[in-house]
């Protein structure tokens, strides 16, 4: 196998990074329109993973993740506006259900797509103020079934958030001086940073691999998606712990942007089953 991004994929990653940095802070609607105009929603799985990693890095507030990786694989098409999907009969903790134009539901008779406005969706308050999560009162009987891409999308987003956390930590420990030396020169700090890097790289390659198995419809795709989701969950747990610890009291404040990324990464793990759930799925 070959496992190196080609020139086009690297260019895409660069473009996404630059575009997202440019539109950050603008009204959500404008950001969303920019992504649509660039055709990012139509990207194939591996490219989608690269895009989502960058959106995760930027703590993107738009409904891109749910639309591209929840709605699209279940409905088999892109929605007219934004979309999401209900993966279990209970309709609990559905990403963006309170603001999606269309919602895909898996019923015993197949996938039904309903207008978001027709669903009674109630946003659930969560620690991450930017995250839209809602309980929906779905009509009729629903069955469970999570598409591989939905797991990979959450994994890629988490990896992006973890990279951001590490970058913030690195910038902090390089400039913060204690005992006459930058924090980053202390071995205890270096070792935590190195462990974060290893966890990120591990989750990242497993995510890329899972996206690739979806793109090539390889028989390992289900296992690969569980691995990616579990590894991203384990990664965020380590990065959350070390990241907050190394930032010290400053990381414990609302003013510091670290909190957004910590919460985003943690949420990606908790949605659609945290790491232990997917480790167990691998053993089944």
């Amino acid at each position: 196998m070959e496992f190196e991004l080609d020139e086009e994929q690297r260019l895409l990653r660069r473009t996404v990074r630059e575009t997202v940095a440019k539109v950050r802070g603008r009204p959500e609607r404008q950001q969303w329109d920019t992504y649509l105009k660039l055709g990012w929603l139509e990207a194939p799985p591996l490219e989608l993973a690269l895009i989502l990693e960058e959106l995760g890095y930027a703590a993107d507030p738009t409904p891109f993740l749910a639309t591209a990786t929840w709605f699209a694989p279940l409905a088999g098409r892109l929605p007219g506006g934004s979309g999401t999907a209900v993966f279990d009969g209970a309709g609990r903790y559905v990403l963006d259900a309170d603001r999606a134009d269309e919602v895909a539901l898996l019923t015993p008779g197949g996938v039904a797509v309903v207008r978001g406005a027709d669903l009674a969706a109630e946003r659930v308050p969560v620690l991450d103020p930017q995250l839209h999560v809602a309980h929906v009162d779905a009509p009729g009987e629903l069955v469970a079934g999570v598409p591989d891409l939905a797991l990979v999308g959450l994994a890629a987003t988490a990896v992006g958030a973890c990279r951001r956390i590490l970058d913030l930590v690195l910038a902090h420990v390089r400039q913060r001086v204690q005992f006459g030396k930058p924090l980053g020169s202390f071995q205890a700090v270096k070792h935590k940073a190195a462990d974060m890097q290893v966890a990120i790289e591990r989750a990242r390659v497993l995510t890329h691999f899972a996206a690739l198995t979806i793109a090539e419809d390889d028989s390992r795709r289900a296992d690969a998606a569980h691995m990616a989701k579990a590894a991203a969950g384990e990664c965020q747990r380590l990065v959350f712990r070390h990241g907050l610890q190394l930032f010290g009291a400053m990381g414990f404040t609302w003013e510091n942007e670290l909190q957004f990324h910590l919460k985003r990464a943690q949420a990606c793990d908790l949605l659609l089953g945290a790491a232990p759930v997917h480790r167990k799925a691998l053993l089944a």
């Binding site: 590490l166 940073a193 497993l206």
Partner: protein, 390 residues
């Protein structure tokens, strides 16, 4: 380019080697004779290595005259994977082959290639690597063994004095590639040279000592040099440029270093499958193995930072250790007997001496200590990849 399928050239290469192995693999009965150390090559293994050499399957990355076929890196990886699947080495003197012969082929003179490298490849000579010293482990630049160049009408020679330690297989080796200080006044990295020192030279004393696995598991050696005369023609590479030789010779080995962890991990995953009890750790192992392979393949791509090897070494060696620990714990008191009555021992296993889960766990520390400890790898990752201050 990212794709799951192998390149057709790699597929063909792998198939050709697999067919060769299926036809020529040593019989299990003859392979029952174990190697005593990493420089001791039993007769059957000597024949096996020579067979590989003569058919271009020993170091396939080398040109044909040195037992290879100019294989690409992905092909070399396929070669090692096929050997690993069969749990056999291409050589029981891996350092002699992969580091010493390989660096002689890169840095040695024509005379050194034919006098030392080819016989090492043909398993007529075995070699050991003299790097570490009592006060120079990971901090290799602080090594103290001295070699003074003396002029002599009968031929210039180096006079070597000092000590090496952890020299794997030295007591069974014919020759050492030793790194010695030739210019005590130069900056630490500058004044080092690489010398071939025959082990039967007067003044060379080797003292093997046991590993944690057994008192008679003799691979480690202390090697003492007292006024050892080494002819000048045994200098490898330019005088005082040993640092370059050390890095060059380790470079190739390091590219595929992760594979040895993947092999062990795969063995552990396979052998631990029936461990019973709570098996969630087993899923983590499978993820570690998969991630290690993917990072390894990724590292074959162009423009990768060599420091990323530290990510692979750290992940791989720690995963092997945690795998061994979990397998041990899953067995509880049944893991105590040693050698194990029905252990994972396989007479063609790479892990020549492995026989119990306890021993596998103990031996897993070789990975987290040798070749730069996990702590050193973390420092490299933090400083070179993440840019933290030294």
């Amino acid at each position: 380019m990212m794709k799951l399928a192998d390149d057709p050239q790699v597929i063909a290469f792998r198939a050709e080697f697999a067919a060769f192995l299926d036809a020529r693999l040593p019989a299990e009965a003859e392979a029952r004779v174990r190697s005593r150390s990493s420089a001791d090559v039993p007769d059957w293994a000597r024949r096996w290595q020579r067979t590989l050499f003569e058919h271009g399957w020993l170091l396939p990355g080398q040109p044909p005259e040195y037992g290879g076929r100019d294989a690409s890196l992905p092909q070399q990886l396929a070669h090692l994977e096929e050997l690993a699947h069969r749990r056999i080495y291409h050589s029981f003197n891996p350092q002699g082959l992969g580091i010493i012969a390989a660096s002689l082929l890169t840095f040695g003179s024509q005379e050194q290639k034919s006098r030392w490298a080819v016989p090492i490849l043909r398993a007529e000579l075995t070699a050991a690597l003299g790097m570490s010293e009592p006060e120079a482990g990971s901090d290799l630049a602080s090594l103290r063994t001295r070699a003074v160049l003396k002029e002599d009408p009968a031929g210039d020679f180096f006079l070597v004095d000092g000590q090496k330690i952890w020299t794997s297989g030295a007591h069974d080796a014919d020759v050492l590639l030793a790194f010695v200080r030739t210019d005590p006044d130069a900056p630490r990295h500058r004044g080092i040279s690489a010398l071939l020192i025959p082990t039967d030279a007067e003044g060379v004393v080797r003292r093997p000592f046991g590993s944690i696995a057994a008192e008679d598991d003799l691979d480690f050696n202390e090697v003492f040099f007292t006024d050892v005369r080494v002819p000048r023609e045994n200098l490898v590479g330019p005088l005082h440029e040993g640092w370059r030789v050390a890095h060059g010779s380790l470079g190739h080995e390091r590219t595929l270093l992760w594979l040895s962890y993947a092999e062990r991990l795969e063995d552990l995953v396979r052998d631990a499958a029936d461990a019973g009890g709570d098996q969630e750790w087993y899923a983590t192992l499978r993820m570690d193995l998969q991630a290690l392979r993917l990072l390894g393949y990724r590292q074959l791509g162009p423009d990768r930072d060599p420091a990323e090897i530290s990510v692979l070494k750290l992940l791989g060696s720690e995963a092997v250790q945690s795998a061994a620990l979990h397998a041990l714990e899953a067995r509880g008191a049944d893991a105590l007997p040693h050698p194990a009555p029905t252990g994972p021992y396989h007479h063609m296993n790479n892990e020549a001496f492995v026989s119990s889960w306890f021993e596998r766990y103990a031996r897993s520390f070789a990975g987290t200590i040798a070749g730069g400890t996990s702590e050193i790898q973390r420092n490299i990752i933090a400083e070179r990849l993440l840019g933290l201050p030294r």
